[in-house]
Structure formats: structure tokens, C-alpha cells
Symmetry: C2
Subunit: 898 residues, 2 copies
């Protein structure tokens, strides 16, 4: 083997001398050449196959075409020079190693062709098995295996897969042919078909290919292999793969690698089988060997969920030797990778082969338990544990569940495939899921089984229910990844996608009917159940205590009510980063007073109306200060333009006029006067205070009086007054003076510190941060508005073109979801730098929607910010993301700047 | 003298040791201590007085309190420690030098107290003359001068001025008392009053002061002086001064200096007099000693225009020796300052004193002629000439005039005080001028005489007509500065401000009647005359040829029609920097086709409608290319959101529905679908092309086909296609590909270069310029939108708060007028730097409104841009401003970056 590779390398060197090869690229690595740390060029699967080969596991031999080759193929629209030459060399070596000949009519080598990018994308890329079969090689295989039925079954599977994946013929057309043959044979299951039927099926399949493509099915194994490699490359850019990458924010990869591996067969009869196993329970994290297998089956039969598999413990009874070997291997793998492993294996005629091992997808609950257990087992450190849990996955733990005491009617029970609970209206297609969601409906997607094409619909649904498939079915795996409740394999229901109903015994559930899913128990409940707030496990608390020791960013919350403040504090919030006072004005008892203020003809009238709002705001603030006892509370002064508070319909205008004792024309005149063409860029925020200082005056009074009142009942108050829409230093100077003058009136009663700071939400604020800093005790990025101004997008209007931008790949991500580092992020960096240049200890945080988004948070950490603020349910996510940011990009103090 | 100063300095040093003085500041300079280059601390007037003293001119002795002292006074709200101490020392020195005693009852020293900032602000600051007079010192003065009448005249003037300026009593109240005395004496003119009446007037004035202030008129000269200094300081921040600074964009000054100078008297009888003279004619630039004087008068009599003065040449007859001395001095001054001088002089009992000399205000026509003549006289270089002309003043030459052949009825004739022609409706108060202008009316402000309080109204009026005052009256001086037509001293009319009419013989002209002013001839014409395009003089052409040799910035124009292109080219435009294609769609024959396109239900329908627009756009472009033969033409693809093209009223919607053969509901549905909450941040510019590429496709076809057609008839075409609202590289990449694909269709017919570039109008475009540059042949800053996004202001909505911002000084200037260097400018700098980092020769220009504004242009020059683009009439201004920018901030190449 070494000799062959050496020969190949020396030949390659000669080729380099003859032609100009692209940067002396090595296109191919055999499994024994590759290393674990070559993931970016071998892909995750290729690197693992190489790694497993290295540690002595029984991996079927093979080689990997690099992701660089794929990248070259996509960017140059051709293969690099010398590539196929090298390919031949490695194929020859594989023949030698396996002792079989590719295309041999006596002892044929069959191979699998699999994609594998650097980041795992399960189910998204295309796979071809049994490649190398044709009417001649099959004869060799039959002689070798003495199992003609298996061989023709493999052959018809290959033609089907190749026809579908490589030649693009719909799978349903093959199914039709299959159905016809089964019907004629009177067979119910595929396994009931005999050699004759399978042979006929191969012929029918080939004819189908001929009809659909206008060309014969390729019989030359080498041509098959070449086409298969190209198909894998192409699949990198198919819509499913792009969608998956979009949803999972996967960017920066070169492409996919292609793994060519000699086939082993789980369907060679009753001493063969195939399975998927986890080193720990991926659902609850228990330390148990967990998995499923099917005897006499190929791998995709398990994953696709077409047959319901057996539990892995059953294997002990059937093949005790193989089972104990598998137990050994799984232990070795977990120790080796220091993470829970998801293992694919095949037993060929009693011999165990490991096909794949990767970090297993798991529920949030499992992730926490596994991480905590592994620390207790001294397998990993606390830091490693913190990195093992995906912050976004914590959503699962942070969202409501179904109370045990619920009185909903349990319709039936499926597999508890992904925990959590969801309520929604039933829909039957991914398209409907998207459509209904766009119309603000929450939906449960009900399918027989799901496939990669359904990704978008699954993403928008609240939960998924399938009638087929197991715990490792597509639906189950994807839902666990997304942190979305899923009940899978619920055989009690019959799904009729055409009629848009599912039937459970006598009961017919139609599109639009509401059901509740319990992904943790598998129960399906008719109608809506009121869900229960989540409760944190002890493992979770322990885990989060480690996380909190690591992170440098503090985590606050955005909360406008004492209730939200309380929830957030329970989730570990260390203060309020944004309390929006205008939300308080929209309440039913307040909006009339707000309108009275707006309709007032002069300052005196406005002050009278504001005087009525003052005690109400004060009460709000007392509640919030009390809930946040000991932590800072940032209160933003009025931000939106006044017209937002005015009624819009004629009836409302009329009512307001009557209530205020003015004419309808008066109201309309005021409304017309306040109308703005671009309200986002209008008379709002501190601009209101420049023209009507009495509004902020009232608000500051309410804040200070509330703080004094709270302080006097023993609450530790740390009020921070925040001025919105600051674009120039002179504004902040003016408003700060206004605020300070009011605070000074209470001088004798104030026994606490009051900070005055500003939102940073205009590009100009970032660019003039050095001028703002002298008047600000803190900066808080309002990245929602900052993003809108920087892009010149309004979130209200972006719907007309942003979807097209994401579809066409003009934008990798919606910048309202993740901070746009190049544009908005650059302004933030400038701001931090300028602000700290005049005030080195300046407190800087973020309170936009990005605050609880891990990637954005990592950026905030990197540029040296002090805290993030996010919605209450995001607080634990933000805490974990902050810790991971620190582990990935260590910084010393909480104020150090990048 | 030296000894006194030295003593003062050593005393000062002692004081420093005793108290902490502010930064060892020198508060006062005598005229012989000061230097010409100390303008920033002595003010313009103080520096000139010192300079003139140094070159040996007969300047009355005095000293100057520094602007730093004024600044200290305003910021600390008190005088710096030691100031009055120093003041005493300098006052003692002045007594010694003049040989008179301050407060002396035998030989009293009288002084003038005048303001004087570093930048000249004529008429804006307050002046007090004859200070030091009281009932006792006047006796000494009478003994000295033996002219009791003069002394009491001086006394009553002093009480009047001091009462008005220092004590804030309205001038009219003094006038009332004067009128009463005149009436009683049967006198028509002030000069007809005798000693008795003047004495009585002094008493009446003092009583008036007592009544108005509740306190006696201050008799102690030292108290008078102290109060006068304080009044000058305070006047720095009065509303008039602030308005003047605002209008003239004067910022960054410390304050005003105060000049205390021994009085000389032009009103000491028939051998005394006072006058104002220019070294050249400020109206037409002729090299002639030009000016006016009044015998037996004080300076303000000339400036205020109350008495109509004599021409300076008359002085030769009256006082030939003084006249020839004055002639010598004016020559010396012009040689010394290398600029046309505006000289104030007084003759006291046959002795000439020079009170002031400064660069004279002049018309644009005069400025050009003087600059050109001085170069021909080898007095200055071409570069110095280019710096002598205020670019904004060229407006005067660039605006329409009255054709000689006009048939309007000439009502009467006044003085041609400021050239140019204006048409407008007559108003009689500055307030009305503002009010009418706000209602989109063009007005002519008609006044007896103008005063500094009228500034705002004068600024908004098209032209000014006064019935009194001469060529150096307030109205004349201010209008020349503003480049606004003015007819002054039109004695033929009587102005009745109360009744809002003016009468000329039998003819009554009422408020709202339209008149036409010819500021170049002094003619007033009833009704509207159609004005004539300006024609450039040979001097102007020569001057501009020098300018063009100096500048590094190229100057293009913003033009959407062949006509505008032609006008701009005549003004020297070197191409079109912005041709807005949407303006073409708004034309009556096109808007229906545009609407048909918008109402189309699919791409095919849109293409059909666009097909009809194509030949029209092509014709436009052929005209524009032809007009700009040999110069580049930048054409911007469609920018505004589509809803801007839809009708808004019900009637229009109905008509459209009928014309298009659809229902009203159809039209409304489309309009509703296109409605945007923030259209500025909506679906516009290249975003339209991402969703409807067929629009840009049509436009690119029209551009290329037009370019080919123009090329084929011998026009040299340099088309540049510009993409608006680019915010990310992927957009530009996509649109560039689209544009290139269309261009390639014409591959064989194109014999010229087509450039493709982008507007830079979003903050993100600036921040990602390095990513955009690879896809852009040029950048063009759209600073209108960039300013709006950076500030988060919409120009449509800013009216509700921007005036308050300017009033309160939160903004020094409207950033839509001058580029905000700190915010918007910073983004521009980042953009230029990043863009050129990947494409060092990248062509960068500006096409926003700022393009023709000299300060903004200076910034564009400094950051290394290649060209500016502005409206056709601004082109010469931009050419001159570009040259001045180069002279002030030299750079080597046109692409060098700052």
C-alpha cells in the first residue's frame, strides 16, 4: 500500500513538472493518510474515517477527495489538471487493499460514494451505495456471495439511487415501478420479492432511466464513479444544502469532500445488519449505550424510518460477540473524542464494520446532563463542558412544557423524538407551514415522514408529528438540532396529505384544527393546552454556575414590567439593560392621558396632562426597581414619534375628540401636523425633548421619585437614565443638563448613584463617540436602529426585498438577526474606540435584538463591551454564549478593548 | 509710554505671583504693541489699527482689549482677575499719549469704544462715541474747542448712543425727544439746532434714561467706560450678531475685541468732516478713488444713510491738502494690504485721521475686475487673485439680468447699490418677507432704510429697495455681501410701512404688487420683466482660466436634460456627474407608460410597457451625449420607489384606471402593495433591480443604444452607468453582471468605453468600500442620502425640529447645506481610504447638493476626490472654490488621498 501511494506521489510530482497544477494541491488522501485535524480539507466524515482508521477500528478501506477539489470545481467550472490521474492511482490502491477489482467480473469491488463537508449536515448531501454494479460484475458478486437475491436487491437499489441522485429522476417514478412489481407478485414488503422480481425491477429501472434521460444507464463502473463524484460536488450547491446552511448559519466552507469507500453489506442475509448508536442517550443524556438496528438491511433503511428498527440492546441476544465488540468500540470512541458519539455500523455476514462516528446531536437536557456527567467523570474540564452545549439549544429548556395536570384529551402516543411542547394548527405540507406562519399562525407540521426538502417548513413550524420513522429518523434528528418538539413514528395515525386530514381511529383531524404536541412524552393532545413555564434542573444550575465563572460579559435583560424583570432575574439577568418607557404609555388607562398631552395647545396644557401620567410611571418604576433590587436598571426616555400614540381609524378619532372635548377636526389637524413621511428618520427620541422638554422632565421626575421611594423601603436602586436617538454631542449636553437640573431638585433625598447615558443607534453617534463620551456615563448600542440606518433599510419595509436578497445569496444572513460585522460592526468598533479614547472605563453595552444572539454576542465580547441585554428567555443563552466567547477569544478584564 | 507698559507688565507679573491669573493671559495691547498677524486676539479692527500705526498712518491713539478676554467673560461669566488693573494702566498711558485727561475738567480725553472680531461683521456690533463726557468734562472741552455747539452736539449724541447701546433704550424714544425739540425750534435738520436746543436735548435724554432705567445717567467717565466695554462684550452674543454669524457661516471665534481709541471729531465745524472711501470702485471695480463724505458730521452719519453724502472727489475742492494726503494714504494702504481697501477717515479741524481700513466689500463684477487688474498691475499673483474672490459671490454674475430691450414701465430710479436683477412681490417688513417667502412667494423688501435687525428678512428677499441711504448704506453693503440686487436711496419714492404702500408721484404700489429691480442701474420697473441669462465678461473668462489652471478637482454638473447640459457646459462643466433618469419618467407623455409598467401583473407585462419607454429614454440620452460631446456623462439608473410614480388623488386614480383598462380597486391594490412606512429606507434603487431586473435592463439598453447612435454621428461619448443605493458588494456584483450582459449584446457596435460605478449614499457602502471597489469603475458620493442616514434625519421631516436645533446652536449648520465633516465626512474619508486601498486609481466624485458648496468642496479636495458635480449655475462657483481649496491645501495629483 505504502509503495502504491509513494508511486502515486512520485508520479504526481512528475505531473507537476509537466503541467502547471493548481498550487501543488493534493487532491486525494487515503483513510490511512488523513488525520483528524484535516477536517477542513477532508470534511468531517473523511477526517473521522481517517482518524478511526488510525486508532485501529474496523473501518472499510477507502479514500477521500478534498474539499479544495470541490471548491476548484465550483469556482473554475472544471476539475483541476491531474485530478483524474491521481484518482486512478488511489482507486488501484483500494482494489489492492480490498483484494477486489473495480469492474471485475469475478471478484468485483463495490464502493459507496458519500459527501462530507467540514461541518456536519446530516441528510442534506447525497449518497450512492453499491456503485460498480452492472450486468457483468453482478455475476462475480453472485459467485462470491452465493446470494443472488441480495445481489439483485443491491443492484436495483443502486440503479434507483444512481438514477435519482446522479441523473435527477424522481424517486416516486422508481416507487411506481416497485409498486407495480410488488402488486404483480402479490408482495406487501420489499423483502418478499424474489430474484425474478428483483431482476425485472432492475430492467424496469433501467428502462425508466432510458426514457427519462434519453440515454442508456451507464454500465461502465468507472463512468458511474466519475458521474457520482460530480453529483456529490454539485449537491453542495443544491437548494436543500443551501437552505440548511442558511438556517444553520454555516458559511466560509470550501465545499464538500467525497468519500469513496469499499462497500460492506448489512443486507447479506440474517447474519448481516446495520444500525445507528449513541454512546449516551441523546434525548435525556443518561449514560447508556443507546441506538437502533435492523437486521438484513442497509443503513438508509434505519435513517429514513421506513422500517421501524430494534433497540440496540436486542443485538446482544442476536449476536453477542458483535455486540460486545461494539460496546468496546463505543467506549473507545467516546474516550477518544471526549464527546458523546453518534456511530453508524454495519455487520456484514457476522463481521462488524464502523462506517462513521461523530459528535451526536442531543437535546438541550441531554447536552447539559452529558456535559455535567463528563466533568464529574473527569473526562472533560468545566471549560470543555461549556463549549459542548450549543447556546441556542437552551431554548428547549427555556420554553414552556405541558403541565402533568392538563385535562386535554390525549389522542394517541408516538415516539418522544425531540422534547418540549408545542401548540399549533395542523398543516400537512411544508409549503402550507410557511404560508400559515407568514399569516401569523402557529402551526404543527404533520407528515408521514419528513425529508430534507421539508427543512424550510419544519423550521417555521412549532413542532413536527410523523406517522413513521424512529428516534433517529430525519424528523427526530433535525428537530433535536433545531430545539423543536417532535413526536415521530406515531403509527396510530394515518396521514392523508391530499385530503389534508389525519385519522386516529374514529377521530378526523383537519387542516387548521389545533393540537398540542408533547415531544418529551410523545403524546398528541387535541386542542390547545396551556403550557407551563420551564423549571431549571440541578444539572442546569451547576452547569450555568461554571458558565458564569468563565464569562466576562455581564448579561442584562430588556424588560418593561416588574413581571418580565422577575422572570429575567430568575434566568440570571444581572440588571435591566433596556426598559422602554413608551410601552407603559400604550396601556389602556394611560393612552388617553398621553393623547391629552399630545393634543394640548401649549406647554402648560402638556404639563397638566403629563402631571397625570407621572404617578403611573412612578409606580411602574418602583415595581421594576424592586424586582431588580441590587442590580442596575437602565430606563430609556421616550423614543417613538408622538403620532404613534394617536388613533388611526375614524371611529377612534371621533371617540378621542369626544373624550377630549375637542372637534374631530382638531384631532385631525394635530395628527396631520405630526404626520411624517419617514417616521423612522423623524421627530423622535431626544429630538422630542429639544422641542418639548417637559416630557422628559416628567419621566425623570418619575424615575427619581420611584428610586427614592424604593430606596426608602430598603431596595438597593441603581437607576440609569438613557437618552435615545442622540446624533450629536450638543444634544446630549443639553439633555444631560436638563436631566441633571431635575435630579438636583431631589438632591437631599437621593442616597444612591444615578447614571446618565445614551443609546448609540445612529451612525453619527458612533462616528462622534469621542464627543459624546464626556456627557455619557454609559453607551448602549441600539443595534436595531443602527442596522437600519447603516443599511438604509427600514424593518417595516424590508419585506418587499429582503427575502429575495436572502434567496439570491446577496445577504448571507438577515442583519436584524445577527450583527453585520463588516458594516454595523465596524461602526461599533469605531464607537468603542473613540468613546474609550476619552473615557477609558466607559461602560458599554448592547440592548438591540442582537443582544441574545450568540454570534453577535461573540462580536460584542471581542470588541470589549461590558454587557449585553436581551429578552428574559434569552438570558441563559446569552450567559452561555458569553462564556464560549471568552473561551474562544480570551480577554482579561470586562472593559478591555479589542 | 514704554516705561508705563513695562511698569504695567512688571506689576502684572507681581499679580501673577499673588493670584492665579488665567494662563498668564495678556488682556490688553496698545496700538503700537499690536501686530497685523494678531487678528485672532485683537480682532480685525484692532489688528489693522495696530498695523496702520506701525506703517506710520495718522491713527488716533488707543488700545485693544483682546478677544480672549471676551471669551473668558462669556465662559466664566466674570472678568479675569487683574483685568481692570491692567486696564487702568493702559488708560493712563493713553492719557499721556494724547496729552489729555480722562474725566479732566480742563482738557478732557474722550474715547470711542468699538467692537471688532477677527472676522469683519459690519454694522452688527455696537459702537459708542464721545465717551467721557459729563456736565463737568464738557466745560473743559468747550474751553479747548471754543465750540459750545459742537460740544453739546457731541454730548447729546453720546447720551443717545450710550442710552441705546449700553442701557438698551430704544433709539426711537430719543428720536421722539429730538423731533419735539426740532419742532419747537422750527428746525428741519439736526444741524439747524443751536446750543440751547442741544443743551435741552441732553437734559431730555438724561431724563429719558432715568425714566427708562430707574437710575441716573452715569456721570463718572470711568463707570461709563466700564459699562461700555461690558456692552461690547455682551453684543457678541446678541441676536443680530448671532444671526449674522449664522447666515455667513462664521464659527470658531473666541469673541470680539474692544478698541478704545481717543476721539477725533468730524463735526467740529466746517473744517471738519468724515467719510468712507474705497481704493477702487466697489460696484464695478474701476481703478478710481471712490467714496463719500459729509462735512461737519460724525462717521455714523455717512454709514447710516441719514444724510446723503457728497462724492469723495468733491473733497478736492473743499480741502485740497487733505484730499491729496488721503490719496497718498489710500495708495499706501492698497499696496500694503494688496487688496482693495475700505477706509474710514475723519478730518478734525483740518487734520486728517484714519480710523479704519479693511478689505472692501465689492460686487462680484468688481471683485473679478479688481483681481484681474491687480494681476495686470503686477500687484498680486494669479493665485492671490483667485483667493480674492468669494466663490459664492459669483452667484451675482451667474444669475439673470434685465435685457436692455425690456418694455417694462420704469417707475423711477435709485442708486445702483448692488448689481443684478430681481423680480418679486412688494413687502414692507422683514417679518412679511420671511412669511411670504415661507409661502413660496418671491418678494422685494421695500424700506426707508435698513438696519441690522432686518438681516433675516433681507436674506430671504429677492432684492432690496430703500428710499434713503447711499452706496455705503447698510442696505447697499449688506446686499453686495449677499450677492443680492439692491436699489438704495431712491428719493423718488415715499415708503409708508404702516399702510404697506409706497408712492411714486401718482402711482401707488401696494403690498403684493410685483416689481422688478435692476440693481445694476438703479431702475425700478412696474410688474415682472423676463430676465436674461447672464453673459460672462472677458475679465471673468480670463480670471476663470487662471482658476482652472490651479484646481485639481474637476467640476461636473448635475443635469437631466440636454438644455441643462448645454447651460452647464457654457459655465465650464467638464461632464455630467449625475443624470437622474427618473426625472424623465415624470414627463407628461411618459408617466402613463411608467404606470402601465408598475400596474403590469408579470414580467412580460412590465417588459411590454418598458419597451415603450425605451425609445423615449434613448432620445433623451442622445441629446445629453451630444451636448456633452467629449465629456463623461454619468447616468444613474432608476432610484425612487415605484409608488412615487403612482397618482395620489382619487380623481387621478380613476383616470389611470380608465386609461389602463383596469378597475379602480386594481390601481388601489397595487398602490397599497407598494405603500411604504419609510420610503427613504424602502424598496428603491438597486433593490428594485434585484426584484425587477427588467427596468434596469431597459435603461441600460437605452443608454448603450443612445451612445452608439451619438457615436455614429461623430459625438465623442463617455457613458458612465451608475447604480444607486448600493449597500453591499453582492448587490453591485449582481447588477454589474446584469449591466455587462446587456452591454455585451452590443459588443460589435460599441467603439467607446462604458464605465459602471456606484453611488455611495449608505453608511454601509462607505464602510465596505474595499468590497465594492472591485466591482466599481467609479464611486460617486450621494451626500444628500448619506447625510440623512448618518444623522437619522429625513429631509422631508426635519422641518419639525431642525429650526430648533439651529436656533439653540445644537447644530452649527444645516448638514444638508454643508458637509458634516465629523460624521458624514468621516464616513467619506473611510470610503475613499478603503476604496483606494484595493483600487488606487479609483475615480471618486460627489453629486449631492454639497457638490457646489465651497466649504464642502474644500473637504472633497482635502480627502483626495477627483471631481465634484453641481447644478449648472453653481459650476463657476465650484471651479473657483476648487482652486481656492488647492491654494489653501495644496495636493499633487487629482487622485492623491489625504
Amino acid at each position: 500500500m505504502r509503495k502504491v501511494v509513494k508511486a502515486a506521489q512520485s508520479k504526481k510530482r512528475r505531473i507537476i513538472q509537466q503541467h502547471t497544477r493548481p498550487t501543488a494541491m493534493k487532491f486525494i488522501y487515503s483513510f490511512s493518510e488523513g488525520k483528524a485535524d484535516m477536517k477542513s480539507i477532508l470534511g468531517g466524515k473523511g477526517a473521522v474515517l481517517a482518524d478511526m482508521t488510525r486508532i485501529g477500528l474496523p473501518v472499510p478501506p477507502g479514500f477521500t477527495v478534498t474539499t479544495e477539489t470541490c471548491h476548484f470545481y465550483h469556482t473554475q467550472k472544471k476539475y483541476p489538471e491531474g485530478f483524474w490521474n491521481d484518482f486512478d492511482i488511489y482507486l488501484k490502491a483500494l482494489e489492492k487493499k480490498s483484494g477486489k477489482g473495480f469492474g471485475s467480473e469475478t471478484n468485483p469491488l463495490l464502493v459507496s460514494v458519500r459527501s462530507g463537508a467540514a461541518v456536519s449536515m446530516p441528510g442534506m448531501m447525497d449518497t450512492i451505495l453499491n456503485l460498480g454494479l452492472n450486468d457483468k460484475t453482478i455475476q462475480g458478486l453472485i459467485k462470491k456471495t452465493r446470494n443472488e437475491r441480495f445481489c439483485y436487491d443491491a443492484y436495483r437499489r443502486f440503479v434507483n439511487m444512481f438514477g435519482n441522485v446522479v441523473l435527477g429522476i424522481s424517486h416516486e417514478k422508481f416507487e411506481e415501478a416497485m409498486d407495480g412489481v410488488k402488486k404483480a407478485a402479490g408482495a406487501k414488503l420489499d423483502t418478499e420479492l424474489g430474484v425474478k422480481e428483483l431482476k425485472r425491477l432492475v430492467e424496469l429501472y433501467k428502462r425508466l432511466v432510458e426514457k427519462e434521460t434519453g440515454e442508456d444507464f451507464p454500465t461502465d463502473p468507472y463512468t458511474q464513479l466519475k458521474l457520482a463524484v460530480e453529483a456529490v460536488f454539485k449537491s453542495w450547491n443544491n437548494q436543500r444544502a443551501k437552505t440548511y446552511r442558511k438556517i444553520h448559519n454555516i458559511t466560509g466552507l470550501l465545499g464538500t469532500a467525497v468519500n469513496i469507500q469499499s462497500m460492506v453489506f448489512g443486507n447479506m442475509g440474517e447474519t448481516s445488519g446495520t444500525g445507528v448508536a449513541f454512546t449516551r442517550n441523546p434525548s435525556n443524556g443518561e449514560k447508556e449505550f443507546y441506538g437502533e438496528f435492523l437486521m438484513n438491511a442497509q443503513g438508509e433503511d434505519v435513517v429514513a424510518g421506513i422500517r421501524t428498527p430494534q433497540k440496540i440492546s436486542e443485538l446482544k441476544k442476536i449476536m453477542p460477540r458483535v455486540y460486545s465488540q461494539l460496546l468496546e468500540i463505543q467506549k473507545k470512541l467516546e474516550l477518544h473524542y471526549k464527546n458523546m458519539q453518534d456511530i453508524e455500523f454495519t455487520i456484514e455476514d457476522g463481521k462488524l464494520f464502523i462506517l462513521q462516528s461523530r459528535n451526536g446531536k442531543r437535546t438541550a437536557q441531554a447536552a447539559i446532563k452529558i456535559a455535567v456527567d463528563m466533568v464529574k467523570e473527569k473526562l472533560i474540564s468545566q471549560n470543555e463542558a461549556a463549549l459542548q452545549v450549543d447556546p441556542m439549544q437552551l431554548n428547549q429548556l427555556l420554553h414552556p412544557a405541558i403541565p402533568a395536570s392538563h385535562r386535554g384529551k390525549i389522542l394517541c402516543k408516538g415516539l418522544p423524538a425531540s422534547p418540549g411542547a408545542a401548540v399549533g394548527k395542523v398543516v400537512f405540507t411544508p409549503e402550507d407551514a410557511c404560508k400559515w406562519t407568514e399569516n401569523a399562525q402557529k402551526v404543527i407540521l404533520v407528515r408521514k415522514e419528513t425529508s430534507p426538502e421539508d427543512i424550510q417548513g419544519m423550521f417555521t413550524a412549532q413542532g413536527i408529528l410523523t406517522s413513521m420513522g424512529g428516534m433517529t429518523s430525519h424528523a427526530a434528528v433535525v428537530c433535536r438540532g433545531m430545539g423543536k418538539p417532535c413526536v415521530a413514528g406515531c403509527a396510530a395515525i394515518q396521514v392523508d396529505t391530499k385530503k389534508k386530514v389525519f385519522i386516529c381511529g374514529e377521530i378526523v383531524v383537519r387542516e387548521g384544527d389545533t393540537i398540542t404536541l408533547n415531544g418529551s412524552t410523545g403524546e398528541i393532545i387535541l386542542g390547545e393546552v396551556e403550557l407551563m413555564e420551564p423549571k431549571m434542573s440541578n444539572d442546569f444550575k451547576l452547569f450555568m454556575s461554571w458558565v458564569d465563572k468563565i464569562r466576562k460579559l455581564r448579561v442584562r435583560t430588556n424588560a418593561d414590567t416588574p413581571h418580565d424583570a422577575k422572570v429575567a432575574r430568575d434566568f440570571g439577568a444581572e440588571g435591566i439593560g433596556l426598559c422602554r418607557t413608551e410601552h407603559m404609555f400604550f396601556q389602556e388607562d394611560r393612552i388617553p392621558k398621553m393623547r391629552e398631552m399630545i393634543l394640548a395647545k401649549d406647554t402648560a396644557g402638556r404639563k397638566r396632562a403629563l402631571e397625570k401620567l407621572l404617578p403611573l410611571q412612578r409606580e411602574d418604576f418602583i415595581g421594576i426597581f424592586t424586582a431588580m433590587d441590587g442590580f442596575p436598571v437602565t430606563i430609556r426616555l421616550l423614543d417613538p414619534p408622538l403620532h404613534e400614540f394617536l388613533p388611526t381609524t375614524h371611529g377612534q378619532v371621533e371617540n378621542l375628540a369626544i373624550a377630549m372635548g375637542v372637534t374631530i377636526d382638531d384631532v385631525k389637524r394635530v395628527a396631520d401636523g405630526l404626520h411624517e413621511i419617514n417616521p423612522m428618520l423623524g421627530h423622535r427620541g431626544c429630538r422630542l425633548a429639544v422641542t418639548y422638554p417637559e416630557i422628559y422632565e416628567m419621566q425623570v421626575r418619575a424615575i427619581i421619585e420611584a428610586a427614592i421611594a424604593a430606596h426608602n423601603i430598603g431596595v438597593k436602586v441603581l437607576p440609569e437614565i438613557e437618552v435615545p436617538i442622540i446624533g450629536m454631542a450638543a444634544e446630549l449636553k443639553l439633555i444631560r443638563r436638563l436631566v441633571e437640573e431635575i435630579i438636583n431638585r431631589y438632591q437631599n433625598e437621593i442616597k444612591f448613584t444615578v447614571k446618565i447615558g445614551t443609546m448609540i443607534e445612529l451612525p453619527r453617534a458612533c462616528l462622534t463617540a469621542d464627543e459624546l463620551a464626556p456627557y455619557a456615563d454609559f453607551f448602549s448600542f441600539g443595534t436595531n436602529d443602527l442596522t437600519q440606518m447603516t443599511f438604509g433599510f427600514s424593518r417595516d419595509d424590508v419585506g418587499k426585498f429582503l427575502p429575495a436578497y436572502l434567496d439570491k445569496g446577496l445577504l448571507e444572513r438577515d442583519p436584524s438577526e445577527t450583527i453585520d460585522r463588516k458594516g454595523v460592526g465596524e461602526l461599533m468598533k469605531i464607537c468603542v474606540k473613540l468613546g474609550r479614547s476619552v473615557k477609558p472605563k466607559l461602560e458599554i453595552g448592547i440592548c438591540g435584538e442582537h443582544g441574545g444572539e450568540p454570534l453577535s454576542e461573540e462580536f460584542c465580547h471581542k470588541i470589549g463591551m461590558n454587557y449585553v441585554s436581551c429578552s428574559p428567555y434569552r438570558v441563559p443563552i446569552a450567559r452561555l454564549a458569553a462564556a464560549q466567547a471568552q473561551l474562544k477569544f480570551p480577554r482579561k478584564a470586562s472593559t478591555s478593548s479589542a
